[in-house]
């Protein structure tokens, strides 16, 4: 298995008023998750109304950007560049969809420690991805 090329064109996320703070933080190299000040639960993806208790007393909080691989799959066919989708469970307890980059896909494993890195989309928006820690 060869090193995963870093030239995949990353599609642009549809940024809207509700999710804009997330992408503004990404541009500064910070990963945000949602926290509810009523039930205390973290959530992902972040949203204004808490998905756990439906409170509107939610806030954005920074994640440490570290976690473990919950699952992953490398696409080998039907794509100009192989790439790896994954769910990463952050140390704050929420699990997020992402890509695993700067790694040999053949050497990945569920449970492996990873840390966040930021990649640029085709339009220059920063999005969080993960690489082996």
């Amino acid at each position: 298995m060869t090193e995963q090329p870093a030239v995949r064109e990353i599609p642009e996320p549809p940024v809207n008023p509700e999710n804009r703070p997330y992408f503004e933080a990404c541009a500064q190299g910070r990963l945000l998750i949602g926290r509810c000040n009523d039930c205390g639960q973290h959530h992902f993806y972040p949203r204004v109304i808490c998905p756990s208790c439906f409170s509107n007393r939610t806030e954005w909080i920074p994640s440490e950007g570290t976690g473990t691989i919950y699952t992953y799959s490398t696409m080998h066919r039907g794509t100009p560049v192989p790439y790896t989708v994954a769910y990463v469970t952050l140390d704050e307890g929420v699990t997020m969809l992402t890509n695993l980059v700067d790694c040999d896909p053949a050497r990945l494993a569920i449970g492996q420690r990873v840390r966040v890195v930021f990649a640029k989309t085709v339009a220059g928006t920063s999005v969080p991805m993960f690489t082996p820690a």
């Binding site: 549809p14 992902f44 490398t74 696409m75 066919r77 994954a86 769910y87 929420v94 890509n99 991805m129």
Partner: protein, 388 residues
């Protein structure tokens, strides 16, 4: 209000085409509707309820009711992806029980094969989807989403690629008898695991076909069902359950069938062990494995052992499944396999499946669908049907 025994599936039709570049999608819907009415022995003017999902062109039931020339007093366009049509049958039974209609027509059609659709293309339900910003950049397609589900199942339960392959092997044993099936060659476990790896750990032969076509079913109240000269398929129970990421508490080891299944069994008053034939949604081999566990045909984590050694092959194993060849070998019209799951269950209960795969004395069947993506968010729907 229970729907148990309140309505019957009186007509079913699977379009014979698997490639229809010269058809419009609306035309395919109409041909399926016509086929199901002929099968039932009903007239278009008998239809007073119409059901369709996101595959219907235009403004769903408004465009289609007008195009089909229907005069209806009840419509439903519930869209839970490929499981929609099982939900529609349940909703039609509810509407009939409540007196909102007498004869409900459900149609599905699409041309993904002619339009160049592939499971390796990223899924996009529009920029307004609240999850889109957090998922589109990562290229979650269909096959790698299910790949992640299979990867986690293997990690937690020791499931192997060879066990998954048995699901395709069983489907191929059935498809050899279906003249309309896209893939009619019997394959072996070795063939499946030696086919090209598409998205870890799924191989090409772990995937369903991409086909044009469609299907339709007709649901009617008991008095109408009894007036028709066809074997009667009674709706005993149903369940529906959407499942998502639960605010970041992602658990890919369980599908919505863990909720829709028990609801359907309870309403029907039967147990998994009573089921003689099962249509189980088979977008990928792992899809079948997950639902078999979640429906209670075996314990969670035991699916790999359950499906091995031909246990899903009619005449061989304990749980004959998808005797038309399923989505894995026969047909997956509009990339939505729920309709064909209902149709083959109806064939089995009527004794109209191919003689080589017909379950002898089949009186109790289950049809199970999922739609959307097991790897992100999906709908599950279960129907339990009885030959009266």
């Amino acid at each position: 209000m229970s729907i148990r025994g309140r309505a019957y599936i009186v007509g079913a039709f699977e379009h014979p085409t698997r490639k229809a570049p010269e058809h419009s999608v609306a035309q395919l819907h109409a041909e399926c509707a016509r086929g199901a009415l002929l099968d039932a022995g009903l007239d278009r003017r008998d239809v007073d309820g119409y059901f369709c999902a996101g595959d219907a062109p235009g403004l769903g039931p408004l465009s289609m009711v007008d195009y089909l020339g229907l005069r209806v007093r009840h419509v439903d366009s519930t869209d839970t992806g490929g499981s929609s049509y099982l939900v529609h049958v349940a909703h039609a039974a509810q509407a009939i029980a409540a007196g909102h209609c007498n004869v409900a027509l459900v149609t599905l059609a699409g041309r993904p094969r002619s339009e160049g659709s592939a499971g390796t293309q990223p899924r996009n339900y529009g920029a307004g989807a609240p999850d889109a910003a957090f998922e589109l950049p990562y290229g979650i397609a269909t096959v790698n989403g299910y790949g992640m589900v299979a990867m986690r199942h293997m990690h937690e339960f020791g499931t192997t690629s060879e066990q998954l392959a048995w699901i395709k092997v069983a489907a191929s044993h059935h498809a050899q008898h279906n003249p309309h099936a896209m893939l009619r060659d019997v394959v072996t476990v070795e063939d499946v695991v030696a086919s090209p790896l598409i998205a870890d750990p799924l191989h090409r032969l772990d995937c369903c076909v991409v086909s044009d076509g469609g299907g339709a079913v007709i649901v009617a109240r008991p008095e109408i069902a009894r007036s028709l000269g066809r074997p009667r398929v009674r709706i005993l129970g149903s369940g529906e359950a959407p499942k998502g990421q639960d605010g970041g508490r992602v658990d890919l080891t369980v599908s919505g069938a863990a909720w829709s299944g028990p609801a359907a069994f309870e309403e029907a008053g039967v147990k998994p062990a009573d089921i003689q034939y099962a249509s189980i949604y088979d977008s990928f081999t792992i899809t079948v494995l997950m639902q078999i566990e979640d429906l209670g045909f075996c314990a969670k984590g035991e699916g790999g052992r359950f499906v091995a050694d031909g246990n899903l092959i009619s005449g061989v194993g304990r749980l004959p499944f998808n005797t038309d060849g399923g989505g894995l070998c026969n047909n997956h019209p509009a990339n939505r396999g729920g309709m064909t799951k209902i149709i083959e269950a109806v064939r089995q209960l009527r004794g109209e499946a191919h003689p080589a795969v017909q379950v002898p004395g089949c009186t109790l069947a289950l049809a199970q669908g999922t739609g959307g993506q097991l790897g992100s968010r999906h709908g599950s729907a279960t129907l339990i049907l009885e030959r009266e």
